[in-house]
Symmetry: C2
Subunit: 255 residues, 2 copies
């Protein structure tokens, strides 16, 4: 940016207008399935198609714009709306994903969209009757034929999420503040789409420094279909997993 001689004589009106938006790939786990937040479009283009929630960037940071869109669509409060007591969005992990700027990605005008990726614990269904009535969670394998280039954005978000579970403790962003090792394993299974060996997973998680720390408590009762009470853990202070928790090897991913 800001090439010296260029900007000196620059007037924004000399250039075709470019709009900047944010789109959010918000992931959660509902009923054991990895799901993404979608909205239904009412107007052309792509009327009737589903799309990622998003909107124009105002006088705010890009991250604030993403949080604002997320709060508006889910009907949940966050830092953005201090008037509500409960800050459900406070526990949401938000990171920038990638920026999409193909000239024709929006048929109306040049729109550059900064995509964000959010990991959320299981949130209530957006309440009907609110502004967010048209937003809903959809299992990711049923989220196809989205508007614009949102199929591609979603695919990029999913790949990022799957990779991040390998070397960061972000799986805990999908759980409540306290969780069992079994719940954590179900997060990995849902995101990666494959079951993991319970015993080996258990030992592995406890052996990675700072991944989880014990609360000392256990669940009030065992599993619905039997089994002992499980110990409860909370997220540890590690920001990276060392050694990492690698996905089961797929040779075809390599080439």
């Amino acid at each position: 940016m800001d090439e010296a001689g260029f900007l000196a004589a620059y007037d924004p009106r000399d250039y075709p207008a470019v709009a900047v938006t944010v789109d959010v790939v918000a992931l959660t786990i509902r009923d054991g399935r990895l799901s993404v937040l979608l909205v239904e479009r009412g107007t052309s283009p792509f009327a009737g198609h589903r799309a990622l929630p998003g909107g124009f960037v105002r006088e705010e940071t890009l991250e604030q714009a993403a949080l604002r869109e997320l709060a508006e669509e889910t009907g949940l409060a966050g830092q953005v709306d201090a008037s509500r007591a409960e800050g459900d969005l406070d526990r949401v992990h938000l990171e920038q994903l990638q920026t999409y700027g193909q000239p024709q990605r929006d048929p109306r005008m040049r729109v550059v969209s900064v995509a964000y990726l959010a990991f959320a614990p299981s949130l209530p269904e957006p309440t009907a009757g609110s502004d967010a009535a048209r937003a809903f969670w959809v299992p990711v394998d049923e989220a196809k034929d989205l508007a614009f280039d949102h199929d591609e954005i979603l695919a990029d978000g999913l790949e990022r999420a799957r990779a991040k579970l390998e070397y960061t403790p972000l799986a805990t962003a999908f759980t409540g503040p306290e969780f069992t090792i079994g719940e954590l394993r179900q997060v990995y299974a849902a995101v990666w789409g494959e079951d993991l060996h319970a015993g080996n997973f258990h030992r592995k998680v406890l052996s990675v420094p700072g991944f989880v720390e014990s609360t000392g408590a256990t669940t009030a009762r065992g599993g619905e279909r039997g089994g002992p009470k499980a110990k409860l853990y909370r997220a540890g202070d590690a920001r990276l997993l060392h050694p990492a928790l690698l996905r089961p090897t797929r040779e075809d991913r390599v080439r």
Copy 2:
């Protein structure tokens, strides 16, 4: 983006103007040191400061904009300028880094900048007398006090580059089309800032499927200070290294 009711009534002139630029973190290895391409700013703000090369996005993709800026600043030809026979930029690896959009990052107006990261083999110094006379390569540990938020962008680019060498074969983007294992090791040493054990590195590189493939040839002569002729390799077909080539562990990176 494209929130339905929102866009229907949208007029770009209703919103404060936002400019979109690209900035490029172009890395190469010169004299064994990891170096970044910088330009000197002639005008306010930050007159006299060094900055990353970049400029406004025109009617082109974001990636084309980054390639164009890189070609303009280095004076090297690429796909962008088909009139030149040699496409030195063809062998440059380019990927999107991140997008920076803090409202006050440019004091004049709202500028959202999409940063790109480039890995280049050792390129000739930008020729004096050309348009690119004010661009130059600077060892990364001497690239400080850059204009705008370019210190942060450079730091993010370096961290990305270091991480990418671990699990991708992109180190070969810093070498010529044919290289020795020793040259490859020097790339890793320069980017990571630490020496690697020659023997173990050698065996490791050859053991990763698809990282490198033998050309059958050897260097014409041994090293300048003695040693046998080394076998020559070219990049293999792997896009990911499996198993990865991890950096020497630093516990302090984890928390």
